[in-house]
Symmetry: C2
Subunit: 305 residues, 2 copies
């Protein structure tokens, strides 16, 4: 950040299970600086959240009380403060933020964005609602389906600026467990990739999704008997899991306008898999949508102030 | 073991990835004693197999050379000695054992039973072929399908005493990973059980197997939103995974005579799940089948001697 005395007007904070990311912002939405640490919610007891935040933004804080808008698992029951879920159907764009009212540092004013839940079938999100709000703030009157790939991938149906319904898949977590902790770890090189192996697996899994547990073991057997390349195996596994997910989420995406909000690599894999099914998706950048959503929430606090 | 001078005629050894189990045997098949240790193949370098075996049987060895018949991962490429796979279709009942020819102790004579592989679709087994041989030695002229539930569950088609084809599912390993290493670990008590939750999940997974990655996350969401009991969640998860496996293995078991070789708890779960589908299975005890198979292999060595 520059050394003059223009302090940030507010801080945007994305506080997930594994990481903490902050942006120092002006009121008009300019990013003055940003920082990241590994002090995710999963590592912190309640009294360690404020020190973890101050580690990153302490040097940037001006003398006055500065708003901090945070989204993600920081608002879970085991987080800094529980920000109760909104229930679908609802706007992702939050009407009510939860304030942290037990702060030590008088310069901080912290608000946490609530997650969204669906009662039946039971489902929950925390963090994705902010990305969705960001996307909708940049794409007015957009109806369709948003896919947010990640550890727990979400498919979200949007209509009239509301989250109508959503469904979470454990796909990313299964991929991590299988590549690092299962017998398949001997047969998979996670640095490798092979588009053909990926598309073959997507197609196999979409046509026979029930066979997936058997196909998983075949990755190991193919390595033992046929020396399949470990890089090919990585793409094949990813394709199996994403293909099975596309088979189950078909009612969400078939014939719909689709947007993907995710990291560039995984978002491309989803877009490629969908394209092979004749479905075309717009790909957008996850951190940018998070920041847009946090900015929209900040603007909301100014309206109501 | 008794203190008289009747030494064992041979040793039966089940040497898997995690554990080593030995039985001291008479030529006529009586068990004189047994022992188990955690010195599985996964923990041993090549030079540590002989000491690990002697730790268990050293005190029982007589002065003469004594045969040791071993099955399981001890015969893998990373094991004590590689016992090359037989290829389907083949009798599980081994014609050719692989001798360990670099033993230090002159009282040992060690033979390893080969695994079985299938070229297309690629698949492998090591250890199960011995249980199958044991089952067939006790059930002459038995045709049908054998299910061997475990970390890597096998479905094996048997005809005219031969393994015709088989298919491996990662079901048990997925259950362990999900209950101990995924986000679901917060919502699952692995000591609990609930038959209704199990059967509900089996039925859901059989009718819509592609939805499994979404149903997995619903276990977490149900806990957060509806306080589902963690013991119920355990049975529900098991039912989902076994149900998806039954959907994919249906061509194996539908209309067939079925035998299950497995630990008593998991074998009962499979039998219950199959019964709800109108399929009735004979349940047999895995260690007893292993010992019967090792005994059959020992008898074979006497024939050819």
């Amino acid at each position: 950040m520059s050394q003059d005395k223009s302090y940030p007007d507010w801080f945007a904070v994305d506080w997930g299970t594994s990481n903490l990311r902050v942006w120092a912002m002006t009121a008009s939405g300019t990013v003055l600086d940003q920082a990241v640490s590994d002090q995710g919610m999963g590592k912190l007891t309640r009294d360690r959240f404020e020190p973890a935040l101050l580690d990153l933004i302490g040097d940037w804080l001006g003398p006055n009380k500065t708003p901090v808008i945070a989204c993600g698992m920081v608002g879970a029951r085991q987080g800094w403060v529980e920000a109760p879920y909104q229930t679908t159907p609802c706007k992702p764009f939050v009407n009510q933020l939860t304030a942290v009212n037990f702060l030590q540092d008088p310069r901080l004013q912290v608000y946490v964005i609530p997650g969204v839940c669906q009662k039946d079938p039971a489902d929950v999100m925390r963090g994705e609602e902010t990305q969705i709000a960001g996307f909708l703030s940049l794409n007015k009157n957009w109806d369709g389906v948003i896919c947010l790939p990640g550890t727990h991938t979400k498919w979200v149906q949007i209509s009239a600026d509301e989250i109508i319904s959503f469904k979470t898949f454990l796909t990313g977590e299964l991929f991590d467990l299988l590549t690092h902790h299962s017998v398949l770890r001997h047969s998979i090189d996670t640095d490798g990739w092979d588009d053909d192996a990926f598309q073959t697996a997507v197609s196999e899994a979409i046509s026979r999704p029930e066979a997936i547990a058997a196909r998983l073991f075949s990755i190991r057997a193919d390595d033992l008997l046929h020396d399949r390349a470990p890089s090919q195996a990585c793409a094949y596994l990813s394709g199996l899991l994403i293909g099975a997910e596309l088979a189950a989420s078909r009612p969400y995406w078939l014939g719909q306008q689709i947007a993907i909000i995710g990291g560039s690599t995984i978002a491309k894999h989803y877009a490629d898999a969908l394209q092979a099914q004749g479905a075309f998706a717009t790909v957008t950048d996850a951190p940018r949508m998070t920041l847009a959503g946090l900015s929209a929430a900040y603007a909301k606090t100014k309206e109501t102030a």
